[in-house]
Structures are given as C-alpha cells and as structure tokens.
Symmetry: C2
Subunit: 405 residues, 2 copies
C-alpha cells in the first residue's frame, strides 16, 4: 500500500538540549503533572504540539484537519451528554472538560485533541470505504461511540489524577485539587456510567457489541493502572520488560485499540477486521508510549515541561529503564544499584541516564517503537486493505507517535 | 389487596437501652464502619438480623426463604462474572465479596443478603404473575440483571468506603485498608464496567433498556454521595429537610428502585408499571433510611454495634436531626447551637438527643417512615394489582424496613 512508511524513529537527536526532538510540545511547566506521574493514557496531551513546527511533515496537516473536523462533530455531542449530569457532578465534569472555571463561570479551555473520538470516526469511515458519502455516513452514525470513548477516557483521567496526585492537567488545576478527591472520583464514576448510557440508548445495531467491548477495555485499563501502581512499588531488579510492556499496553494501548474497534463495529466490520483494528490501535499506542518514555529521559526539558531527569529522580520504571535493568549488563546492574538508593536532591542523574543508554535501554526502546509501528501498519493493511481508505487512520497513527519520517 | 398492612412503625420503644427495638442486628462493633459513616446504601448490612428472634412476624420467614433461594441462583453467576476479572483486580473483588482472605486463601464470609438481586428477580416474577412456572421463568431470565445490580451496588460500596474512611464492612476490614485506596477505587471501577458488560452481552430483549436505566441510577447514586459529602460540611442551620430527603432517596432509594424497575423491564412490563416498580423500591428505601436513622439515635448500642450517641458525636445530619434543626422550635435552635460546637469527648449527648426529640425530629421521622411505606404499598398495588403476585415484593419491603407490625 502506498502509505506504508518506513518505521524509522528518531535516534541520536534526543540529547537533553538537542534540537532534533520530533515533538513540539506547547506544554509549559506543570503540563505533565507531578514528577512521579507516568505519562501513559494520554498521548494527546502528554506531548502536545502547537507552535506550528513540523507542519511540513506529510501526514501532519491531514491529521490536524481531521482532528479539527472530528472535534466540530463530537464536542457538541459530548457537552450535550455532560449537561445531562445532575448538579455538582455536572459542574465538576464541565470544569474537567474546560467549559467552566473553578467558580462555575464559563470558559473555553482546551479539552484535549480528541484523538480517540477521531480514531472511532476514522475507523468507521475507513471500513465504509474512506472519504466519500458512505464513509461520512458511517462516521456520523458512530458519533455516540466516539462520545462514549471520550467519556471513558476522561473518567480514567479523573481517577488517575487522584491516584497519581497529579495537580495539573491540560494546563489547569486537576479536578480533585479544586473539588476534593471524593468529588473527582464520583465525577469519574458518573462519566463511566454516562458512556454506558449513551451506548445503551443508541439504536444502532452495533451498540451492544460496542458497549461490551468498551466495558472490557475499562477493565483492562483498571488492571493496567493497578499494575502500574504495583510496579512502581517493587524493587528495580524485580521488574521484567514483559511486565512493563504489558502494563503500557493495558494503560495506553487498550483504549486506542478499542476506539478503532468500536469504529469498525459501527461500520459493520466482521470480527476479524475488528480484531485487526484493535491491534492496530494497540500497537500504535505502544509505539507512542515507547517514544514518550524516550523523550521523558532524553527530551528537551524546555519542551517536555519537566526538569531534565525528572523520570529518573522519581525512579520511574519507564520502558527504556526496565529494559536496561533487565539487560544483564554491568551498566544495568549499576543502574539497579542507583535506582535502589533513596532519591536525594543533587544526586547524579547524568550517570544514571548514561547507565540506561550503556545498558542498551535507549536502543531497545527505539527498536521496539519501530517494531510496534511496523506491526500497527501490518494490522492496518489487514483491516483496511485499500490504502486510500486507510489514509486517515495512518495519519492519526503518525500524529500520535509523531515520528520524524 | 390483602397484603396492605398498617404502616405503624415502632415508637416509644427506642430508648437507648430499651428492649422494644424492632431490629435484631447481629452486627458486632465495627459492622457500621467509622462513626462518621452514614448508614445509607446498604439496608442489608446496616442492621442485620441473625439470632432468630422475630421469626414469628408474618413476612419474615417468607422473605428469608426468598433471599436464600435468590442467593442460590445469583451468587454462582456473580462469582463467575467476578472470576472474569484480571489478576489483582479479581483478587480485590473476591476479597470484597468474602471469597478470599487478605492473603488470597479461600474463605466463605457473608457477602450480604442480596436484597437488590432479590428485588430484581421477585419483581420479574411478580410481573409474570408471581409463583408458578411463568414467574420462575421470568426470574431465571432476569439473573444477568440481578447480577449487574449487585455488582453496581458493590462498586459503590468499594468507593464509598474509601471516601467515608470506613474501616470495616460485613465484619471484615474494608478492601482499601487491605489493598490501598487506589486498588479499591480501581476494583470498584472494574465492577461498574463488569455490570455494564453483563447487560451488553445479554441477548434478552430488555437488556439495553435495563443498561440505560442502571446507568441513570449510577449517576443518581454518585450525585447522592456527592450531596452527602457536601451536606456534612455545611453548618447545621443551612441544611433543609428536603435536601436530606433528596440525598437519602438518591443514595439509598435509587438502587432499590432501579432493582425493581430492571425486574419489571425483564418481564416485559410497560413503562408505566416500570415507573411504579421504581417508585415502590424508592419509597421502601426511604422508609428504611428513616427507620435506620431513628435507630442510629435511639437504638440499643448493644444491637446497633455503635456507641450510643455516635451519630450525634459525629454531627451526622441524619433525617430526624435535619427535621429538628429545621423545626423553627426553641429546641431546634438549641440543637443547632450544640451541633455547631466542636465535638469534644465527654460532651452531653443526652441533652442533644432530647433536643432532637423535643424539636419533633423523632415524631417527624416516624410519620415520614409510615408515609413512605404507605406510598410504597400504593405504588406496588399499581405495578402488581394481583395481591398474590405482589406477595414476594411486599415481603421484601417488610424485610428491608423490618417493622414491628
């Protein structure tokens, strides 16, 4: 297919102040939450773009235009759904989605790029032949599924922010810091119920299957977040790469996969294609996570919005670190020793970072990211053999992983 | 109908050590959670019975036998559903349902009386004509709805226990005290998703409508819990009786109502009857809450498992207290003053209790409970005009409110 692109991922340009970072985040300090926060689950805000750089990359304008179109359709439906919530729960949800400030006054803050709704609608359109009246009709019919996915995503964000003690999200104070932990948990609970409500009331023939699939995804997301919490508590030597990959797949890949799968279901795809769409989203999600972890270690702090070495100082077992720790190399053993020490101000994070690289963590993560994108492309070609029809999904995968090629 | 019974509720026998308490709780200390916890949402464990006293009351044996039969059917289906959860999430859920101890060893602890599943199956059976092959078939078909309701109930318990800092539930340590707050929240999230999953995969013609109704109920439960948290933070004079009643209806009545409604939906009832079933459950739930609040103030501490006056010491704005505070009487003003003072060890709780009574809080709550039960009976006769068919639901309402008559 004409849109299979090389899976070359950026390498050697991620030095802490280097200019070659493929991501162009607009995020100021705080956009990432606390230093202990894992940047999973939210490719769209983890490394946001916005300064216009890189617009010359082939799929960038297409993805941006597509996301804009999706937002125009999905956002009003999303807000209509949120406005069905009662009283204070609605207020918290409207705050979280950037429609109200802490005092209930109307504002218009960014509510995320709507990557997941875009995957739903684009997958539905792709399965119906891509751009054209049939594709557009399929996408329109899938709007309730797109809204349900976005509500689900935001339910997990509300809960994760409480658990991870993250104080900022989308450049604003997280809901729990404004309304309290209980209120944020309850608002998240209500968003999960609202997602289920939208699918239950949708007369579309696929809505029940979509609801079942989304519920399975939520269970996987919970298991992923649970595994993450448990992993961070364990000693460096006790964590395997497979575990960290499985955790990242559950936390980040599962909902991207489900988004594509729901789009496919709404377009009437058979189970085999739905599975391929799911795998496409999962693998793209894993590629995103690997690249995001690389940038967390070697990215430009002026761009990531996090101080250099913050992930190391927080002893995050990100994917490159997990690979280094499990490498069986002297550098890996050295890293394990450094990671076992209590974090202290002024500690030598540069030595740690070098140990990750010497132990092969950086190379491994680059190779894995390339491999995952290759798998994603393979699954996409199975799900949507016509390259033209697959174009939108390809552009979104590119956008999510934001590679240099 | 032959089963309409007088709505006489116990009065004058609730002195702190009095023998006339209509409830026969087996709950030892700790069965009620922390002293600040509101006993809403769980009629089945709030004042458990178990010593065999009171078995001579007319509907008691019927309800007990009915609950036993329901458990035999629902519990295996519930555990099969829970066992579909992954890894640690499954472990937390199995712990919560009394199937495992904190170390994962198998146990058999009580997992509640399954009042809500019983309401689902009994409502389905009642709408299909009551006892007999048709009623039994309707109840059997409604098992997925019964399991979904019980999963939903337990999702809210897991979350509420975290929010209310309750340390015991069903005589065991709450999940969050064993596995941590995040783990308990995630297990609750997963149970909510699992409930939605069961309805989504159920081919029954009513499953989508049931799913929509259950989602609405969850949103109401969240709003109720949110209102409760907010109410407890406000000053005594600022809380109206209507607010406290609305909160109790959302927290306790909504899921009892939804249970009956789901049973009706599964038996093919029209919307009017479904609404009447919902109202029946709600009103019975409110009657339960009123009586439970009365016992929280005037019940025998040896039976409630809480020290006398614990609700007052915690400044709980229970229904009789809210009515007293809003009474406009001198005693109400005195109570407001006492409630505004910081709780202190050795404070005069007896004077407070007398102020509630003098301000009319006790009488009001008794009258309200009687009124709510009357409304419940009225709604039941609309939903199920045949008294024989309505018998099971009536017995369950009696069981939940456990009156002397």
């Amino acid at each position: 297919m004409s849109h299979v692109i090389t899976t070359q991922v950026p390498h050697g340009t991620h030095d802490a102040q280097g200019p070659g970072d493929p991501h162009d985040p607009q995020g100021g300090p705080g956009a990432q939450g606390g230093p202990g926060a894992r940047d999973t689950r939210d490719p769209e805000t983890a490394r946001p773009t916005g300064d216009g750089r890189g617009r010359d990359r082939p799929d960038e304008p297409e993805a941006a235009a597509l996301l804009e179109r999706v937002k125009t359709v999905v956002e009003p439906a999303l807000l209509r759904a949120v406005d069905r919530l009662p009283g204070q729960i609605r207020r918290i949800a409207r705050y979280h989605f950037g429609r109200e400030d802490a005092h209930g006054a109307p504002i218009e803050a960014p509510a995320g790029k709507a990557i997941r709704p875009a995957l739903v609608l684009t997958a539905a359109s792709a399965l119906a032949g891509g751009p054209g009246p049939a594709g557009e009709a399929a996408a329109r019919a899938a709007v309730p599924a797109a809204v349900a996915v976005e509500l689900t995503h935001n339910f997990t964000l509300l809960h994760d922010d409480v658990m991870d003690r993250d104080t900022t999200r989308r450049h604003r104070a997280t809901a729990w810091t404004v309304f309290g932990e209980s209120a944020a948990v309850l608002a998240g609970d209500a968003l999960q119920a609202l997602a289920s409500r939208l699918l239950a009331e949708d007369p579309h023939a696929a809505s029940a299957r979509a609801s079942a699939r989304l519920a399975d995804c939520v269970i996987e997301l919970c298991a992923g977040q649970q595994a993450d919490t448990a992993l961070e508590r364990r000693r460096p030597g006790e964590v395997t790469v497979e575990e960290v990959l499985a955790m990242a797949e559950a936390k980040t890949g599962a909902l991207l996969g489900a988004s594509c799968a729901l789009g496919g279901l709404y377009a009437g795809a058979d189970e085999e294609r739905v599975r391929a769409l799911d795998a496409f989203g999962r693998q793209a999600g894993l590629a995103f996570q690997l690249i995001d972890d690389l940038i967390g270690l070697w990215g430009d702090p002026r761009r990531t919005g996090k101080p250099a070495g913050a992930d190391l100082a927080a002893r995050k077992k990100s994917l490159p670190v997990a690979a280094a720790l499990a490498s069986g190399t002297p550098a890996g053993a050295r890293l394990a020793e450094l990671y076992a020490a209590e974090p202290a101000p002024g500690e030598d994070l540069e030595t740690m970072l070098r140990a990750v690289e010497e132990a092969g963590g950086r190379d491994w993560a680059h190779a894995q990211a390339a491999d995952r994108m290759a798998r994603a492309m393979h699954e996409l070609s199975r799900a949507v053999p016509d390259p033209e029809a697959a174009d939108g999904l390809l552009a979104l995968a590119e956008f999510v992983t934001r590679r240099t090629s």
